[in-house]
């Protein structure tokens, strides 16, 4: 009997499930409506019905990978729990003041400071102080801790974040606070900043720890519940949760550090893009995941995702290692509207699932990007395998009334304008993602997925001068595929300032050993066999007086004089690559990092199904589709994508359709289907 793995990506509207046959590499998929009130319901019922459909028994399932938005939504929708915070004396307002900045382009006459997840009265100060080098300069006032714990207990605030100054350098005080609070308030959920994010910068560390506390009860309840239900079904395979760093962790780790799952879904999309591009022999790509309300863009260099330490969740900085994903507030459901001055704008407001685009006939009256695509013939009136019919006339009518007439344009040009404006915004975002990393997007392939990605990708690529666009076989469920190609991954870090000329080589080595031991313990606890464990060491370096750091991999597996010299050399090179200069100046080491990976055997997806060796019915006929380059509507070949044989070559303009998405091959571009079913598009 074959072994299977399941990938389940729960989004706001749909739950995507992919069942992978680990022996043959074949996949089956299911798209089912999400159940936002209790996401585990849609998850569990979807899994049962897919297994049943495919005749797979629960015992054949070896692993379950899960991408979840529980933590993200709790943070973005401000639905976390009441949190109490303990800080060092003098820092009660660390959250309130933050980095005292407002958004760069904000107008100070109208900008309002976002409400913090915890009001100041729930932040209590503890007399104590540790210096930046870990020396205790003021003893911990234990009575104050006990009093604070009692206060939170009496107030019924059961999730407590503990974030003391410089705790990254010496966690003693935080650990003692944990003991005291646990005694005074048994059962409270505790989040320590020296566990969650033991690196310097008090606001960023504190808010990250607070967000962890904010989502902890909800996430741990969800995961426990899900785990129980799966066991109840008879599935005993481990449940693995996708982290924001593109790796998976077990349920215990996820429940303890839920804030690590904040970019769970989008990270899986990037992992899918790496896999797709890698199979076509492309090591450098930009993932372009365009969904209903937003688009996620991320850069991949040498098959490695780019990671950032400066991610933002809503209004909050979260300095955990996350895949560097830029989100643009524009997707298929984005609304086109006129500003007070009469200028056409698209997004960031989305019609979402309700009321939805006008063409869905579910009450939407404002034209969306999807309506524009439909009005121009770029999507068929019948979608989702013919189960849903879209109202093209209503879409055109709303574009005519709300956009075209006020602007003095005809409907087609107004619809085309909506698409052009969206694409233009994407161009800016993709450029910024590249510039930030010191790259030129023209050297990258664009991997397009999400329901709307492959419809817009060629137009976006053309504006950027990119010459390769890849659309995977089922772009609408790519993130769920991405889960299945992920490995175990966890990051460990500690700030330890090292200034020349007295680098403490022994001290650094012992920190790496500590972090390494923690990492190995974790891999063991996830039952990863030793020969599949991998630790990589890196460090954040900067020039003296610089305000931020560059992460480079440690040269060698131990710290000694030579490896330190070589690491500093790497820093100079990386600094030059990123910023265009390097300096003959003292270099400081700031934070030491260990990344633990546990490689999961991944069959990957096999070559395209053997039955799809060219089907006479792939060409479905022709439809009138509007292309600007063609000067209006032209007859355009429409193909059923699932019937296209590997090796097929298709000249644009042409459209490929399948149940979950539409690929638009613009005039002047040519597509080829590879043996994995990827559609690879290039200019003629």
């Amino acid at each position: 009997m074959d072994d299977f793995a399941l990938g389940i990506d729960v989004g706001g509207t749909f739950t995507d499930i992919v069942l992978l046959n680990l022996s043959t590499g074949h996949c089956r998929l299911l798209k089912t409506p999400s159940t936002p009130d209790d996401p585990s319901r849609g998850f569990v019922s979807g899994v049962s019905s897919l297994l049943e459909e495919e005749g797979v028994t629960c015992s054949q399932v070896q692993r379950i990978y899960h991408g979840t938005t529980i933590a993200t939504n709790a943070i973005l929708e401000e639905k976390g729990t009441d949190v109490g915070v303990l800080v060092s004396e003098g820092f009660k307002y660390v959250l309130e003041i933050g980095r005292h900045n407002m958004a760069r382009m904000a107008n100070p006459h109208v900008w309002v400071k976002p409400e913090r997840p915890v009001p100041p009265e729930r932040v209590l100060e503890i007399p104590e102080r540790t210096a930046y080098d870990g020396t205790v300069v003021r003893a911990l006032d234990e009575e104050a801790v006990i009093g604070a714990a009692a206060h939170f207990r009496d107030e019924g605030i059961a999730s407590i974040a503990i974030a003391l100054t410089h705790s990254y350098a010496n966690p003693e005080h935080e650990q003692r606070v944990r003991e005291l609070v646990s005694e005074a308030f048994p059962g409270a959920h505790l989040s320590l900043s020296s566990d969650v994010l033991p690196v310097f910068r008090e606001y960023e560390r504190t808010i990250t720890t607070v967000l962890n506390a904010y989502v902890m009860p909800r996430v741990s309840y969800y995961i426990e519940n899900l785990d129980r239900e799966l066991r109840g079904m008879g599935i005993n395979a481990p449940l693995l949760i996708m982290k924001s760093n593109g790796g998976v962790i077990g349920t215990d780790t996820a429940a303890r550090q839920p804030v690590h799952t904040a970019l769970s879904g989008p990270a899986a999309g990037v992992m899918a893009a790496i896999d797709v591009a890698g199979k076509t022999g492309v090591p450098d790509c930009i993932s372009f995941d365009m969904g209903g309300t937003s688009t996620d863009v991320s850069l991949v260099s040498g098959r490695t995702p780019t990671t950032t330490l400066n991610a933002q969740l809503g209004a909050w900085p979260v300095q955990l290692p996350m895949l560097d994903i830029a989100t643009i507030g524009a997707g298929g459901g984005s609304v086109a509207w006129l500003t007070a001055a009469g200028n056409l704008s698209v997004g960031p407001r989305s019609a979402g699932a309700a009321p939805g685009p006008v063409c869905y006939g579910t009450g939407g009256t404002e034209p969306t990007v999807t309506d524009a695509n439909l009005a121009l013939g770029r999507i068929d009136k019948k979608i989702a395998g013919g189960t849903l019919t879209l109202d093209s006339e209503a879409a055109r009518e709303s574009i005519r009334n709300r956009i075209a007439a006020p602007l003095g344009l005809d409907v087609n040009h107004a619809a085309q304008g909506i698409l052009q404006i969206v694409n233009n915004n994407m161009v800016g975002a993709i450029r910024n993602v590249s510039v930030e990393r010191g790259y030129d997007p023209r050297d990258f392939a664009l991997v397009a997925f999400g329901g709307a990605g492959p419809m817009h990708a060629v137009a976006v690529a053309r504006l950027l001068g990119m010459t390769t666009v890849i659309a995977p076989p089922n772009p609408g469920v790519a993130s769920a595929y991405g889960l299945l190609v992920s490995d175990f991954k966890n990051d460990y870090a500690r700030t330890s300032i090292q200034k020349p000329p007295d680098y403490d080589i022994g001290g650094m080595q012992s920190i790496y050993e500590d972090l390494g031991a923690e990492a190995t313990n974790w891999l063991d606890s996830e039952a990863v066999p030793t020969d599949r464990q991998e630790l990589t060491r890196s460090a954040d370096l900067r020039y003296a007086h610089q305000g931020f750091e560059v992460t480079v991999e440690l040269a060698g597996s131990r710290v000694d004089g030579d490896s330190l010299d070589a690491t500093i050399q790497r820093f100079h090179q990386e600094h030059h690559r990123l910023f265009g200069f390097s300096l003959d100046q003292p270099v400081e080491l700031v934070t030491l990092r260990v990344t633990a990976r546990g490689h999961l055997e991944s069959a990957g997806r096999a070559a395209h199904s053997p039955d799809l060796t060219g089907h006479p019915d792939a060409l479905q006929g022709q439809r009138q589709v509007f292309f600007d380059e063609a000067g209006g509507f032209v007859a355009c070949n429409i193909y059923l994508r699932d019937l296209l044989a590997p090796g097929s070559a298709i000249e644009g303009p042409a459209i490929l359709e399948n149940s979950d998405s539409t690929v638009v091959i613009e005039p002047g571009w040519r597509a080829r289907i590879d043996e994995f079913g990827n559609c690879i598009m290039r200019p003629v």
Binding site: G90, F91, K92, Y93, V94, E96, I97, R99, H100, N101, M102, A103, A106, P108, H109, V110, K113, P119, P120, E121, A131, Y132, T165, H166, F200, R201, E202, E204, T339, A340, A341, N343, L344, S345, L407, L409, H413, A414, Q416, G417, Q420, I421, N424, V427, G428, R431, N432, V435, E436, G438, I497, H545, Q546, G547, F548, F579, G580, F581, L583, Q585
Partner: protein, 616 residues
């Protein structure tokens, strides 16, 4: 003087730009600017640029008028052209300057550097791009160049008149070396200037791409139309909100850093028919210290435009913002039009209050529909001798204040002037022999109002090195930010050495060369913004929330807001509050349009009070 010929009024829409193309040109400019600013943020070296984010990239048309950006009102190109007329420019050139006097104030103090690239499309000079940032040190009297003790522009560091630093792609190394040689931190200056040049060059590339994508005529027409749309909106909105008449205001500066007396400037707006004229000739003489600000037609016009831009922030920030004002009158030799070689380093005190004054005259004209005054942002220069190396270190610390209450919302608590970030306490601790011991909200510093003024902060910094000095740029010590529409003034600022110790003493908030030794602690209490609207109309639940959070004390809740709160439960006593508020309404000083020391409608009333109670 006319601000902006050809920009104001009708003029008719240029033909041939469809609305979609216009939006695409706008969108492309926006993302180009973001991209170029990202280059600065990523490649500049000094903390001022990287952490404090004091930089910008803008685009100008061939007449030097803003296409999109933030150096609004500045005549960036005028002084360049007088040395290098357009016909002498070539593709690949980069021009550089920081000279406030030669540029007529388009650069307002020496640390601000501008780098300009001309854009040649199909052989024609069609546009300019420029990058701008605040540099770390250019020599001058003390590390950081500008400071409270300076009395001549020469103290403020190296003056760079417009020079062609890159000539058709070739760096003018001779000039470059001279400028670098004059900085205490030449590496930072080199790193920062290279970042700025790279950004201006990328901006040029992106401009060329836009011209290539849409064609020259279409691009130029789109730019003109965009400027015109902003101009039309701003002009219409100002005329809607400012009836015919004359409206004046006066604001006061604590002192100029070297003397003790206060200084003031006066701004008068008159609208006759459709013409709006600003007159600042009633301002005091220029000061010996460094708070002089070279105002210009452009800057004042731009402050107006920026205020009205809030009513449709989708409009492009461009030359059109200057269309609000027809003429500006300034008096040479005054604090707003200082004569060479007055020091200009701390001109932010004056221009922050001038921005407030713009809103004050608008408020007088329309019955209070504007933001109340914000406090002047604070800078501390912590200097100390490192025990081990003996080296002198400088930490330039930008510190938050409170913004003004607004007709629709509270003032913003604890922000700098805009998008500038502070240094984390843990960064300062590890980077300098300092320990930050407190960083808190300064209670009751936000002016009482229906919409409370933003609170300032408290920052305690202890010196761990053997010795050092510190300079402070703290305003609003004597003259707080005024309140509006019945709202009251914000709290004042204060600086204390060793609070609570036997040697406790107040430090002059705007001063330099203050000595401190190991173990000394400096406490900064920064000012808040003015309140907006009658404090007795503030929702009781918001006052409760402010008390719980420590923004407002129990005493102030009672005396300023009339809200009676139980000290144990921190809940308001509703009937008690109703009665007490009614009582207060009868007995208190009756609210007027403005508040500072007293309620007043006319700036002359306030002036008389000040002359009597706080004579110069």
């Amino acid at each position: 003087m006319t601000t902006n010929p050809g920009m104001k009024r009708d003029g008719g829409k240029p033909a041939g730009v469809d609305p979609i193309t216009l939006q695409l040109v706008r969108g492309s400019l926006r993302s180009a600017r973001l991209e170029c600013e990202l280059i600065i943020e990523r490649t500049a070296m000094s903390a001022f640029i990287r952490e404090k984010k004091d930089y910008t990239v803008s685009f100008l048309d061939s007449l030097g008028q803003e296409i999109y950006g933030e150096t609004l009102g500045s005549d960036i190109m005028g002084c360049v052209w007088s040395h290098y007329p357009p016909e002498s420019m070539h593709a690949g050139d980069v021009y550089w300057y920081n000279d406030p006097y030669i540029s007529g104030g388009s650069i307002s103090h020496t640390p601000d550097m501008v780098f300009i690239t001309p854009v040649f499309f199909e052989g024609e000079l069609v546009a300019y791009c420029h990058s701008f940032a605040h540099f770390w040190d250019l020599g001058g009297s003390r590390p950081g160049s500008i400071g409270p003790a300076n009395t001549e522009i020469f103290h403020d560091g190296t003056l760079v008149p417009p020079i062609r630093i890159v000539d058709q792609g070739k760096l003018n190394d001779e000039a470059y070396r001279i400028i670098l040689r004059n900085s205490r931190y030449p590496d930072l200056l080199e790193g920062d200037s290279r970042a700025l040049m790279a950004a201006a060059q990328r901006a040029e590339e992106r401009m060329l791409e836009i011209f290539g994508r849409f064609g020259k005529e279409t691009t130029l027409a789109a730019i003109r139309q965009d400027q015109q749309e902003t101009a039309e909106f701003i002009r219409r909105k100002t005329r809607e909100m400012i009836p015919e008449g004359t409206y004046s205001t006066r604001d006061y500066l604590d002192n100029d850093g070297v003397g003790d007396e206060w200084h003031s400037f006066r701004l008068e707006l008159s609208r006759t028919g459709d013409d709006i004229v600003l007159d600042a000739t009633g301002s005091d003489d220029q000061t010996p210290g460094s708070i002089n600000f070279i105002a210009s037609n452009g800057t004042l016009g731009a402050y107006f435009g920026q205020h009205f831009h809030q009513y449709d922030s989708s409009l492009t920030m461009n030359q059109g913002l200057m269309a609000a004002v027809d003429d500006v009158k300034l008096r040479p030799g005054s604090i707003l039009q200082p004569q060479w070689p007055a020091a200009l380093g701390c001109r932010a005190h004056t221009f922050t209050k001038l921005k407030n004054a713009v809103r004050a005259v608008v408020a007088r004209a329309n019955g209070g529909d504007a933001m109340a005054a914000m406090a002047v942002y604070v800078i501390a220069y912590w200097r100390m001798r490192d025990a081990e190396s003996g080296e002198w270190l400088l930490c330039t610390d930008g510190i938050a204040v409170g913004h003004g209450g607004r007709p629709q919302a509270d003032g913003i608590d604890a922000v700098y002037s805009r998008h500038n970030e502070n240094y984390p306490a843990e960064f300062m601790d590890m980077e300098y022999p300092l320990r930050m011991e407190r960083y808190a909200i300064n209670p009751d510093s936000g002016g009482p109002g229906k919409y409370r003024g933003g609170c300032g902060i408290i920052r305690d910094v202890r010196l761990l090195a053997p010795e050092g000095t510190f300079g402070l740029r703290v305003e609003n010590h004597r003259f707080p930010a005024w309140g509006l529409a019945g709202g009251k003034a914000g709290g004042t600022s204060r600086v204390i050495l060793n609070p609570g110790q036997s040697d406790e003493r107040d430090i002059r908030p705007f001063s330099d060369d203050n000595r401190w030794v190991a173990g000394d602690l400096v406490r900064l209490l920064t000012a808040g913004g003015g309140g907006w609207g009658d404090p007795l109309e503030r929702e009781v639940s918001l006052v409760e929330k402010d008390v719980r959070g420590g923004f407002v004390t129990l005493e102030a809740a009672r005396s300023e807001y009339g809200v009676v709160i139980d000290p144990a439960s921190l809940k308001a006593d509703a009937p008690g509050t109703r009665a007490f508020r009614e009582d207060l309404r009868r007995t208190r000083e009756q609210p007027k349009m403005f508040h500072r020391f007293i309620y007043f409608d006319d700036d002359e009333a306030e002036r008389q009070w000040i002359e009597t109670h706080m004579p110069r």
